[in-house]
Amino acid sequence: MIDIANAAKSFAGRPAVHDLSLHVPRGAIYGLLGHNGAGKSTTLGMLLGQVFPDRGSVSIGGHDVFADRGRALGRVGAIFEAPCFYDYLSGRRNLQVFSRYTTKVSRAQVDAAIDRVGLAARIDHKVGTYSHGMRQRLALAQALLPAPELLLLDEPTDGLDPEGIADFRQTLLALHDELKLTILFSSHLLQEVERTCTHVAVMREGRKVFDGDWRERATDDDRFMLEVDRHAEALAFLRTQKMIAPQRLATAAGVDLADINAKLVHAGFRVRAIAPVARTLETFYMDQRERAWEVPAC
């Protein structure tokens, strides 16, 4: 659905995205993870034709975003971090205005989008009176008009309360199931991405350091927790024995936790606990960041 090939972008000589290649399959819920300034928003900007890459190509549904904008963005809905609307117009008028830039939509289509996000009671009020959560729901309704195949969401849950985040997640998952949407979701809320996304790409300083189904890769996770007396000394000992990775508390290739336990006990350390770390997206993400320090980024 989305293909970015070797895209690069600098702002005033400062690289924001380096040689980025990304493929998002149709029907995926794809999380774009990274710290502030990692290049997530620049990537979404390039996908929407709002940021011109210095080199590389960006296409949606097989259509180049810059050469064939009409077809590439014809079935795309987008939401940005701060939901901006014409505050002096009603929610309904805003939906009509924004969707008109794609095509003419019927009142029934607008009503269906409003019902889907649960905003019917306030839709004829001015947007200036809406709460942040309501604005975000309006943003989602806007993105659903007229009939997208792809949603691009840039930090959509920022500023929402926990209830709002949960509602947003449920709505998004329901949309994915019912409308078979492909969703690209940029966020730094790891828990949200873990609960929502099927695939992730991790970015660090403009470079992609991981791309794919994180759950599959997480089974290779070799991090562990260790409770031992003289902790720092124990780690140094394990490193000299080449039993753990140089920068992380992770087993070296071909070593398992039983070997490490036996080695420590044999060397006179008192091991109180040793166990693999639970495989969450957070541990996976942190691991990717640490690995990025050990090896050149892909």
């Binding site: 620049t42 900007g45 077809r71 963005l73 795309v76 901006c84 609307f85 002096y88 691009l152």
Partner: protein, 275 residues
Amino acid sequence: MLIWELYKLYARRRTYIGFGAFVLLQAAILAMLQHPRAKGEIGKLLNANGLDFGDHYGGLTLAIVVIAFSFTFLGGLYVALVAGDIVAKEYEEGTLRLVLARPVSRVRLLLVKFAACVIYSVSLVLFLGVTALLFASVYRGGLGKLFIFIPEENLFAFYDTGEGLFRYVRGVCALAAATITITSLAFMFSCFKMKPAAATILTLSLLFIDVVMMNLPYFRSLRPWFASYHMGSWVRTFHTYPPWPAIAESALVLVGLSATFVTIGIAHFAQRDLK
């Protein structure tokens, strides 16, 4: 798209500031013209030229006085305010990014926005023309005959009501067309990465510099090089025998300037990264 652009424009309260300000200013000018001294000055001028005060101090004459004063002071300001906002304000508020997430081309979007600004500018001048004539006619109890005297333009003319009304309508239409140049200049600045207020202030500053320099006695022979000279050509349509070749030349200069401003603005915006 143009209809929705106009809907957005006219749904904003600040769009009406210009209309409201003109009504207030017109009322103030007409109230000032009630003063015996003001009446006396105009009466003296009419009598000195053998014209009857009662016939010529009517709605048409006063409407021209009102337009000349009110548009000089406020017209450029309100046109620049709206055209300076049209792109820069939407960029600042973030709605432009959401619009440009849609499959609309930047050039088309900007052309629609410019068209909306032109419609606003023309509607503002026409509003001024209609209300000035309406208020002045009510104030003087009728249209009367048209008398116009502008020494800087060597313009001294008087017309019967029918001819005066025709000249008045034509002059207001010419003023509306000339105003599009100010719209284009403000629109161009609005397309650059700057605050909406900066686009308005830059436009007014350039306009002000142009007017001041044109009026310096040392530059008298260079007047046709200033944009405001050509923008003032609406007044020349009131000559008994209007200098049509000069008016046409001014119109061409203004069209050329407007096209250049709009092209620069759109070309710059089309290449801008929006973040």
